[in-house]
Symmetry: C2
DNA sequence: TTGTAAGCGTTATCAC
DNA sequence: GTGATAACGCTTACAA
């Protein structure tokens, strides 16, 4: 492993000069620059980022904290975040909190130890204060737990609203609402949006399910308890898939007897039959916005918007009636 | 951010002593040890891992290279790898190659710059030589491209064999084989295993599909072209799901008319109806073995086995007949 | 335009 | 047992 000294020696200059050409900072004669460059080439020299980080107190590492990795929505998001991170010339350290405070604590310490430059936080455990103690630039995705932390989230309220509007305008009067754990901000927002358009004559039955692996039997049971329902709003496409399956089993026609709306717009939603009508979250936009915001924060630029809401969209497919 | 000097000052000792208590190395009087410990406590001191890494030339970072993040099998695997990594007291840097050699090159350089301690490689692009130039401990998952790199892979041959045996023993005579891209080692192995038990009287039609987002229409067309087939071996559960859907559409009874076997055993396989009979890969075992091997490699221990094959298992569910 | 040298926060060697 | 101090590989004043 060649060091800057080796390069300096080979190019017959000082390390300072080598450093200057690497960082394109300060004056350096074109001749010597070329000399240094060829030396670098010949030695296959790559600057040691650890040494650099130590001096600059910034590691060029961004950490992302996720509640799990095996959820379809989060995988999609992670893929975007990883790509945007490397494009911004940063590296991504990944932390799967598993909603486990102990594991999160462990990582919190690591962020400090490595002079992590920024933290992208998607967390349900309420340790915001611990994060803030770190004094590391930080943004939240899908949550907005503190006034001091910039956030990026889908317009979950709108998502709930769009779903309700669609269902009601196409005639639904008895609706099942399968949502995620009710302590999640996203879930609360969607519920709020959903209820915002309900009128007295609409009956809604709400049930909390796990997002990751919802129990198919549970869904089936709820549906069987409401055989006369004519609409189901599911807060994930996976839940929608399972609901559709249960409906088919009892001979319900979709969307004629019962309409179904999912959430997320994962790839599977358009691959299966019937193709699921869903509220699309743009992981693309969320991820891009997240990294854009992160970079501004790291560079000390001012944010033009502190809490950014990303629009969601109703994608009409086969599980709802045409307007 | 308190440094070791601050601690030393506060405890009225030298930095050397502080270093000794932190690392529990060398002699240090119990009294002074306590003094130092309380100073650390009071200052909320955490050792700077960057400085440490610079000196020791090891970063305690493990990198994982994956071809994508949004595949169900890879997400499962990543979750295990992340957990095992942090449990081994290492941190995980994530690299999504997207089968893109340029992106991989970029990361290759980064691994060098950060003194990454180990690389867990899952890659289809053939850049093994570039990786080997790095002289960083490395293991491969799902591949076995070089004699010099330890590997961990499912017994894909066995997987193919088990599927064929099951299908044939339950009477299948005309089988469709939906596999992944044929240039993948895993796919080739499965195919080899599958064919190993075929006899003259069994007809097999093989088609290559994308693992990530196989085209449902494509699958449907192939099935329609072989309406008299009585068995389908799919090299992913997602493909199996789509095949089942197409079969249902044309009124085929599963497993009576057509039997279906998937691969991977993703969560969804047991959630949907009919529950998919599948060849289970143990991401748990693969991930654990991977990190175990990685740690031995990093610590310079000898490996008792160089190319480790993890057993797969036929999970019989609703899409195949009982023996 | 270039070189010298201090310093980033650690660890390890060697005196004491 | 403990404390100076050099070293890890780099950047950046400051001098020259």
């Amino acid at each position: 492993m060649a060091t800057i000294k080796d390069v300096a020696k080979k190019a017959h200059v000082s390390v300072a000069t080598v450093s200057r050409v690497i960082n394109q900072k300060g004056y350096v004669n074109e001749e010597t620059r070329k000399l240094v460059l060829t030396a670098i080439e010949e030695l296959n020299y790559v600057p040691n980022e650890l040494a650099r980080s130590l001096f600059q107190k910034r590691s060029h590492i961004v950490a992302v904290v996720m509640p799990h990795l095996t959820s379809y929505y989060f995988s999609d998001l992670l893929e975007v975040i990883e790509d945007e991170t490397i494009n911004a010339n940063y590296r991504l350290m990944i932390c799967n909190s598993m909603d486990n405070p102990e594991k999160e604590s462990k990582y919190l310490k690591i962020f400090e130890q490595y002079n992590v430059d920024g933290i992208i936080l998607i967390s349900n455990t309420n340790r915001i204060q611990d994060y803030q103690k770190l004094h590391i630039p930080m943004i939240e995705i899908d949550h907005n737990l503190s006034e001091e932390i910039p956030s990026i989230a889908s317009n979950n309220y709108l998502g709930g609203k769009l779903a309700a509007e669609k269902l009601i305008s196409t005639g639904c009067r008895k609706i099942l609402h399968f949502r995620g754990p009710s302590n999640l901000v996203t879930v609360a927002e969607r519920t709020r949006g959903f209820h915002s358009v309900l009128t007295k004559d609409i009956a809604v039955y709400t049930y909390d399910l796990a997002f990751i692996s919802p129990d198919p039997l549970d869904i089936e049971e709820k549906i069987n308890n409401h055989l006369d329902c004519d609409g189901i709003f599911c807060e994930s496409d996976i839940i929608a898939m399972l609901a559709i399956q249960s409906l088919k089993k009892i001979g319900k026609k979709i969307p004629d007897d019962v309409q179904v709306i999912g959430f997320d717009n994962i790839q599977l939603a358009s691959m299966i039959e019937p193709k699921i009508t869903t509220i699309a979250q743009s992981t693309e936009t969320i991820g891009k916005t997240a990294l854009n915001t992160m970079m501004r924060l790291i560079n000390g630029e001012i944010l033009e918007s502190f809490n950014q809401i990303i629009d969601v969209e109703l994608i009409e497919r086969d599980t709802t009636k045409k307007a």
